[in-house]
């Protein structure tokens, strides 16, 4: 019968449609300091995703009703450019972008020392220029580098990566076809140094064993990305990377 389950996306040798094995992530490039007028910025190219993040502040929070008396507010705005996918995306906030902005802010609030800037606001803008599955993960990673580049005090940097299930096999870092036709998706945000989990969502069904496998893939994937983040920050700030 027809249906997405018939789409073969991994062969008997465990090779996926783009030639990766189950545990491989797509090629990643990270650059910091790409927007001169921003306090901090970063660009992440993760497979076919191209994401730019910019950070402004801390600044006085307006309107005043959003101020928190004991900490700063992270004002995250995730947006996909109209040209980022083959189907034009209508400009402006929608349900999905609001949700991703919210979960991104909550993930980053766990590492940013917001209590140092009471009543203020840190504005984080995430713009997806090209999308190919995993934009929220690339966005969180880019925002994390941009916050560090802006000199915002943080106890750690957050890296986000997603694993999922295709044709009954758990694989790491789903590409567009795998995301569209796969059976499950598990994006996670992980602190690079401590390994603490700050963000987790799950779409679809995974058995406990599959969940553990996806978890392990995500945890194993952060080390090389962390290296790239450090290199990008060193390059942008005069270190010898």
């Amino acid at each position: 019968m027809g249906g997405y389950g018939d789409v073969q996306m991994i062969d008997e040798n465990g090779i996926r449609v783009d030639g990766r094995t189950a545990g491989d992530i797509r090629p990643v490039e990270i650059r910091a300091g790409v927007i001169p007028v921003a306090d901090g910025s970063a660009e992440v190219i993760w497979g076919g995703n191209h994401v730019v993040a910019a950070v402004y502040g801390p600044m006085e929070a307006h309107p005043r009703k959003i101020q928190k008396q004991d900490r700063a507010v992270l004002d995250v705005r995730y947006n996909m450019a109209p040209f980022s996918t083959t189907d034009r995306i209508r400009p402006g906030f929608n349900r999905r972008s609001r949700e991703i902005s919210k979960v991104t802010a909550e993930a980053l609030e766990t590492v940013v020392l917001t209590e140092l800037y009471p009543r203020s606001k840190i504005r984080v803008e995430i713009e997806v220029l090209t999308a190919e599955a995993g934009t929220r993960c690339a966005g969180i990673t880019a925002a994390s580098v941009a916050l560090a580049d802006a000199g915002i005090p943080m106890t750690d940097m957050v890296i986000s990566v997603a694993s999922g299930k295709i044709n009954g096999t758990v694989v790491c870092d789903l590409n567009k076809e795998e995301d569209n036709y796969g059976e499950a998706d598990l994006p996670m945000g992980i602190c690079a140094n401590s390994g603490d989990l700050v963000f987790l969502q799950m779409d679809g069904d995974l058995s406990p064993e599959e969940f553990q496998q996806a978890w392990d893939y995500n945890m194993e994937s952060i080390a090389p990305v962390h290296e790239l983040m450090i290199d990008a920050l060193e390059k942008a700030n005069g270190g010898d990377s």
Binding site: P58, P118, R119, A148, G151, N193, A236, N237, G238
Partner: protein, 232 residues
């Protein structure tokens, strides 16, 4: 992080930059300075910057930071709003500072604050107090504190103020000598430049070049050279 040593820097590399979350080892009785916090697993860096460590202090000198007001800092503020008996100044900090009438530059009737200082005017002021929420009160009562009616105000990243002008003011003296300008540096990352239009243009061009290099800490010597050379 197998290629990181105990201080968060990287083996075999010249300049050691810490990044947020990098382990900086044990405290060993040292005071914690800027950009360092203590956790159960030891000290960690909270900012991107150069690690400074000696027997008494460990800190991270950030490559970029926002100005945080401290009492007694000299500041250059711009009036952003006026009320009946006080002014709100933009001092390049996360919050506007408060300049009450009693600490202002002159006497005015209640409701006449606008006649003394109006929106958009620039002043030399000093931070009087900062509360726990980083709100600050500034004063214009003091030697040299006044309204700025001439010259130009330029900005530099606040972290460069210490980097470039800490060594006894020699870089500032060189800048003044080479440009024949009057230059007042404020801790909030602003500088007031006064002189002939040509010399002001000269200083502004130098500052613009320094600003473009500000993120790269390895450029410090180049920045000092730009400040002190005879012709920009």
């Amino acid at each position: 992080m197998s290629d990181q040593n105990a201080h968060g820097g990287r083996d075999g590399r010249g300049t050691r930059l810490a990044t947020p979350g990098a382990m900086l080892g044990a405290r060993e009785g040292r005071r914690l300075g800027h950009g360092v916090v203590e956790t159960d697993s030891g000290l960690i860096a909270t900012k991107v910057g150069v690690i400074h460590s000696d027997e008494k202090l460990i800190s991270v000198l950030p490559t970029h930071t926002r100005y945080t007001p401290r009492p007694d800092d000299l500041g250059i503020g711009v009036v952003e709003a006026v009320q009946s008996n006080l002014w709100f100044l933009d001092i390049n900090a996360p919050f506007n500072a408060l300049l009450p009438m009693s600490l202002g530059p002159g006497k005015a009737e209640f409701g006449g604050a606008r006649n003394v200082l109006n929106v958009g005017q620039t002043v030399l002021c000093r931070i009087q107090e900062v509360d726990e929420t980083h709100s600050s009160v500034v004063t214009m009562k003091g030697l040299g504190l006044r309204r700025v009616d001439s010259g130009l105000v330029e900005s530099l990243p606040p972290h460069l103020m210490q980097t470039l002008f800490s060594d006894g003011g020699s870089a500032l003296k060189a800048l003044k000598a080479s440009t024949q300008c009057r230059v007042v540096l404020a801790e909030n990352g602003r500088m007031w430049i006064d002189g002939s239009s040509d010399s002001i243009t000269d200083v502004v061009a130098r500052i613009a070049r320094i600003r473009s290099m500000a993120r790269d800490i390895s450029n410090r010597d180049d920045m000092l050279a730009i400040l002190s050379k005879e012709v920009a």
